[in-house]
């Protein structure tokens, strides 16, 4: 997976591209921690992510939880591919994508 970082006034943007698995988990956590710590909200673009294992799904879920607890905006960007949406659903995190969108609206 490739992680593209875009830090701007509009927020801290991460674009995840390609297959994301356990081998990317450490790098992804670092990127998410940086985004959450930026204080400008975290935008995660999932449109180009083609595969995710449970470690990646879990990290994204934790990032959303921390953003929610800290009052930081957390936004899912891009059209989430069906296989990624399905992966969230299959492990029981089916509300993740919808709730992330809802969080942005609520901010």
């Amino acid at each position: 997976m490739t992680i593209h970082v875009k830090d701007s006034k509009a927020g801290y943007g991460l674009r995840l591209e390609g297959e994301a698995g356990i081998e990317d988990a450490i790098e992804l956590r670092e990127a998410l921690v940086a985004g959450l710590g930026s204080g400008r909200g975290l935008n995660v673009h999932l449109g180009a992510m083609t595969r995710a294992d449970v470690t990646v799904l879990q990290l994204l879920w934790v990032a959303r939880r921390e953003a929610s607890h800290g009052g930081t905006a957390f936004r899912i960007e891009g059209e989430v591919r069906p296989e990624i949406r399905s992966a969230f659903e299959e492990v029981g995190l089916d509300t993740f994508v919808a709730e992330a969108a809802h969080m942005v609206e609520a901010q």
Partner: protein
Amino acid sequence: MSRAAKGDAATVDKYKQAFQEEAREILVELEATLLELNGDRENADLVGQAFRALHTIKGSGAMFGFTEVAAFTHNVENAFDEVRNGRLEASEQLINLALAALDHIEAMLDQAVGRGLADVPAATKILEQLRDLTGKEGLGSGVPHERRNSVLAEIAGVEDGKPAEWKICFAPGPDMMSNGTDPLLLMRELKQLGTLQVTVKTDAVPAMKDLNPQCCYLRWEMALTTAATIEAIRDVFIFAEDACELSIEQQGAMAAEEVIENVGEQPGQFRRRAEDHVGSASNIRVPTVKLDQFVDLVGELVTVQARLAEIASRLDDSDVASVSEEVERLTSALRENSMSIRMLPIRATFERFRRLIHDLAHELGKEVELTIEGADTELDKTVIDQLNDPLMHLIRNSMDHGIELPGERIAAGKRATAKIHLAARHAGACVLISVSDDGRGIDVAAVRQRGVERGLIAADAQLEESEIFQLIFEAGFSTAAQVTDLSGRGVGMDVVRRRVESLRGSIDIASKAGAGTDVSLRLPLTLAIIDGLLVDVGEAYFVLPVASILECIELTREDVMNANGKHVVNVRGEIIPYIRLKDFFRMRIDEREREQIMVVATDHGRFGFVVDQVIGDHQTVIKNLGKFYRNVQVISGATILGNGAVALVLDPSRLVQEVIRSVLSNSGLEKSQSNPWQIEERGTQREMLQ
């Protein structure tokens, strides 16, 4: 996307490979079960074990796309189901058919990875014979597709009957993800069995800062509605069982009887078993290549530690010395630990021969019982891997030449059933492995006669029995009047000796006419790192294995004078011959006033090796000398010392053997010059002159 496809394919390959490995292990266990069943036909536990093993291969095979394996195994499993239900007898014919079927399953597994081709006509014959036995139509290639597909669907885990609801609680352990198991894939597999509702538990997921991103903290409760058996559900977790907490319980009215009948254990029992796995030290599967790399790295660390110790000794700094000692202690512990990881019990190697003996006995019309002793004796994996062929040769020889036909045995006052005994035990830094039988023994006179005919010994040579037996290990040596498919061509025993010697081992034969033969292999415990004693001679360093050293004594000029030029020394009344390493290696160095003799136990008795001085203990990482020196038998390898110098690791037994050989071949020279040890021409027997 192509990367995604590649990733999925890699995952599938990994599962297929895991299935291959598991299936082969199950086949080994199943073979042992069948052979045990052959001697205890009424044993319902063994029948159950065989059935469950076949069921697992079938179910997992279907799940991972090995449909032919699954379909074929289904037939054998059906037969054992009939036995389980008392409708069929566990006859010798069925057991032999099942054994043949195992061979075919293994061949199919080999074929799947591009190794050879499975014998389809033979498989068809097995299926026909199974059909004749059970009276049931098999699942061979002649069966209509519809019927075949429906049975294969059943094999995949969905059986006829009402769907039941199952509650599955699943909590991955901390290492599960890093071991390559993704819960997502398990859930996808479960979904294929029926309707799945997944509830995720997130309460154990820590904050981002405390979270190990490569661990899964999520837990799940799942409701599965399926007609599949508990075993099919359990099979989904077959490769994750050791790395998770898992419980599977049937909900609602208990169809427990059915469950018990199907899998032989209640859901609760399975839960406890899964919990036991979690509570106890779990096992992980590690590719041997990684293990070898690990041991290599430990070897490098040992070498670096030796350098550190050497530098610390020069610096005279107490802090550095203290750290160096601590590193030495840890390195030593790590070395022992890494070596122990490589150690495997010899049980699997021994047990594998049950089948060989069973088949050969059948073929030769002999009755043979195998007994095993010391199966838990552990040896380095590399040594074990190399042992299979030599042991097979020895057993084949024993079966073919040693063991008599039942009639002959009875006429000789023996039991009709012969015995082959495989034994293993530790002896210092070595393991002794013996293959013995109670057959007719070796005809010493015939071996001697053949040796004379082949020009290996003189007609009037005075040889001890053990020396005559050593002729058997000469290339092409055979006394067999008849060459059979098994042995008698004289090919094999020389290969056995070469293989054993390549492992730095030795081989001996003892035999008594009419009573049997015992072949003993002495093998080193490990090949990679040994405890050595570092010595020097002139500017050269040598390492001797500590395990073979008995004591170290001083040799003075006076001692040498008192021995009248003979290379012997009196050690508390015992005369011990010695070899000067500087002479053996033709090193031009001056005589010293005082030298050291390392008294060493060898295959040829006690010998002394004279060195200049003993430097001390040394953890010796043995490196091969390379192709150019591979024929230098007296040296096991080399090791790098802390100061960067190279020390040669000596093989004491080989060195003594080489000296004896060279003495015997120099018989034309002046005796006092060529033979200071007084080794007589009748071999290893030594007579000391005083």
